[in-house]
């Protein structure tokens, strides 16, 4: 066998490792989740009881699915105007300037801050503000967690929509300027419509990030294993309940946490696929 063939075989077989890892992940999560699904059946998705008392054990993913959606949607709504403004700043108004360079470096750095540092800052800086405003139980809750999540996902939403906005062809914009349009009108009638799907994809990917964030949410959401009654009540997300309850878990409880991990994996997978699909269509 010549060396080129061997090289090709090595490249191919090493690359198959990543498929093996992904396949193994799905297999292990499903296998680990089976006891919980068998025990609770469909009620794992519909009941709202999380009761670890021995003999009366009952677990359900519903409170955490709701908690995850509440925090993530809230984060997205808060992040939306901020990252839209930033991407206009970077991709339209000040493209290529020093100011844009500084802002984009800082936005990128936001993505580099570890989740646990966000959690600490949220706990010691944001939470006291929430207490002063009378929000949440001692400042904890869905709202506080959503607020910190918003800051965390801004860089993801901004970087994609900024690139796409910067890609809108100049002659399209110039045509609008030549008709006497102001900059705002150009943005409204040319830039945003042309970049729309890319901007949407950026927000979808950012949403996927928000769903899986763990530490900062764990430190701020208040850790109550029930469906949050309002934006200001305590709750748990899928990621935070795994982090919280894992320490003392075995048997059925461990299986339930793995099942929640599986649901989380599937949800983020679908959302990321959707975002990438929209971007690919756009290109």
């Amino acid at each position: 066998m010549n060396s080129d063939r061997i090289t090709k075989i090595v490249l191919l077989s090493v690359s198959m490792l990543i498929l093996l890892i992904a396949g193994g992940m799905v297999f292990s999560l499903v296998k680990g989740a089976i006891p919980a699904f068998q025990q609770f059946g469909f009620s794992f998705f519909t009941s709202n009881v999380w009761n670890p008392t021995e003999g009366k054990e009952q677990y359900s993913a519903l409170p955490f699915i709701v908690g995850t959606l509440m925090t993530s949607v809230l984060a997205l709504l808060i992040a939306l105007p901020l990252s839209f403004a930033s991407s206009l700043f970077l991709g339209e108004y000040y493209r290529g300037t020093r100011a844009a360079k500084i802002i984009s470096t800082m936005v990128d750095l936001l993505a580099g801050i570890p989740s646990i540092v966000y959690g600490l800052w949220g706990f010691y800086v944001l939470r006291p503000i929430m207490v002063d405003l009378g929000i949440g139980v001692q400042g904890f809750g869905v709202f506080t967690a959503g607020l910190i999540l918003a800051i965390m996902i801004i860089p993801y939403a901004t970087s994609i929509s900024n690139e796409i906005i910067a890609m809108v062809p100049n002659d399209l914009k110039e045509a609008a300027y030549s008709l006497g349009a102001t900059r705002l009108e150009v943005i409204q009638t040319v830039t945003v419509p042309a970049a729309r799907s890319g901007i949407v994809a950026g927000y979808i990917l950012a949403f996927g990030r928000a769903i899986g964030e763990t530490m900062a949410v764990t430190m701020l959401i208040g850790n109550a294993n029930l469906i949050p009654k309002s934006l200001f009540s305590s709750g748990n997300t899928m990621a935070s309940v795994i982090a919280n309850q894992f320490g003392e878990a075995d048997g059925l409880k461990l299986s339930s946490l793995i099942a929640i991990g599986l649901i989380l994996f599937v949800m983020t997978g679908i959302i990321n696929w959707l975002g990438k699909y929209i971007i690919k269509k756009f290109e």
Binding site: I18, L82, L184, E213
Partner: protein, 297 residues
Amino acid sequence: MSMEIASNSHYRDHSTARMTKDKLFLGIVIGLAILTISPIVLIIYKLIVKGIKQISFSFIFETTPNTYEAMTALASGERIPGGILNGITGTLLMVVMAALIAIPVGIVTGVYLYENQKKKLAAIVRNTADIIQGTPSIVLGLIAYIWVVKHITMGFSALAGSVSLSIMMLPMIVRSTEETLKMIPNTLKEAALAMGVPYYKVIIRVLIPTGFSGLLTGILLSVSRVIGETAPLMLTALGSTMVNWDLSKPTSAIPLLVWEFYNDPNMVDLIWSTSLLLMGIVLLFNLLSRQFAKSRK
């Protein structure tokens, strides 16, 4: 006549209104952009102000105190003794191990994707890398728990932590390798192939050296992403109060210590300095990778 003047002034009013709206919008954009970046300034400021006074020689070269020692120091108004050496060595051990697993596999897979751009199997590998990259780190922690803690080391271990971090790093290295190689002019590769150089030598002698700074950028960025990871380590490495170099034993890490200090009222003073150090390391890798990315252009 009067009609014409009226409509003219109406036109001017309308026009100024449009101008004002335009300016107002720009003001809002600038304001919101500044608001967006303010957290990074506030967070770093807070870390420095609260953390700098605890950082000292012993903070880096001694292991963590137990809660009783911390309590006595607090009660007598002294500085909390000890440091975070066990976390520093643990992070070093686990990140280096994760990099040793992820870098070779990631680069080879990246080369494969580059060489087989149009193949269906390559598209599947690429999409799989994207799926893994989007997977929440806590889920990767669960996976490493099931695979390593339960089946290989039979208990919490540094190896399990490394495995979870390496799965996180892998897709980032794969994609950055592919993107880097795509930018290398084909003529370079063709020149080498035309001289009859074997394929593997073209990869090792031409592609990888030419794309070196790009590969390094991807690796440094992926390291900066995993250094701060806490959640997967909670499920795998667990933590330890001693310096541990044994891959099969529970091991601490800097972010794990932040979590421990956060949960122990006696140790609160150590939170900020530990986070400051963690943030400093993360930023260092981040800026280094940026530097290499710049030197390429």
